[in-house]
Symmetry: C2
Subunit: 160 residues, 2 copies
């Protein structure tokens, strides 16, 4: 049961994560002013793959635990927001709306950790690197907004 | 507990559903040849809101039930694919990849119903209208592909 469930949760992660490949950083992103702590592009997919394995492991452990209601609710909530950020930021190129989404994602990951704590401590710990990474992502989004006020005010028109 | 959990699952639905407003049907979609059974645009948000309430209700019932592992796994899986289809179809304007996503969504909803059946029959029944609607969406996607072979082969370049 563990491995089948693991594959289901990992597939959910990949369903969200595939947006990173589909809405890849393009010319628009390269032209932006970026903060000094911006990681090189290759760091993102590597980090996310590690985080997805942690998240799926937490998911299956929680799914098999009793009294997992809130933990499972937050797991579903965070994966919905996780898959939303990339299409908003890199697809719509909307820096301000990206900030809203990454803030909601941050809250849902924190809520998840708090809900997991009493159900399965290991799962809560597996979500801590995720919270740290989303904190960095949120800081990046905020700094891109601050350093590119014109771009943030006027997202390009992508309708064709 | 029911209503807090309900709000968490509904928020997850809205996190996926907001893509319908962000990547709205534009000039590209209006130019497509569409099948005879295409519903008018307003039907989509109305139907989705009803389905989201059904999905959130199923989510909270399952979250409070024992032995909910697979059901919760599939709930998370379907919401990840649910939020992916609109950015792929209306954002990337990729009809073929949209077909892949809607097929995976269909399978995850079916898997969810099967997993829910033995945990909470009402939840499984609440997912049946969802499966029917995703079947219609998949048929629409397939017909758009068939009726617009050139568009399906050559998604427009949306990088700016």
């Amino acid at each position: 049961m563990f491995w089948i469930l693991f594959c289901i949760f990992l597939a959910a992660c990949l369903g969200a994560g595939v947006t990173g490949g589909l809405f890849a950083p393009g010319p628009w992103y390269r032209r932006l002013n970026k903060p000094w702590f911006t990681p090189p592009d290759w760091v993102f997919p590597v980090t996310w793959m590690i985080l997805y394995v942690c998240m799926a492991t937490a998911g299956v452990r929680l799914a098999m635990a009793p009294d997992n209601g809130y933990a499972m609710g937050f797991w579903a909530l965070q994966i919905a927001f996780n898959g939303l950020w990339t299409p908003v930021f890199f697809g719509l190129k909307n820096v301000r709306l990206g900030m809203v989404v990454v803030s909601l994602l941050w809250l849902s990951v924190l809520g998840g950790i708090l809900a997991m704590w009493s159900v399965d401590l290991m799962s809560a710990l597996l979500f801590v690197p995720y919270l740290i990474w989303v904190t960095i992502a949120a800081a990046l989004n905020a700094e891109v907004w601050r350093l590119n006020p014109e771009v943030a005010r006027n997202p390009p028109d992508i309708s064709v």
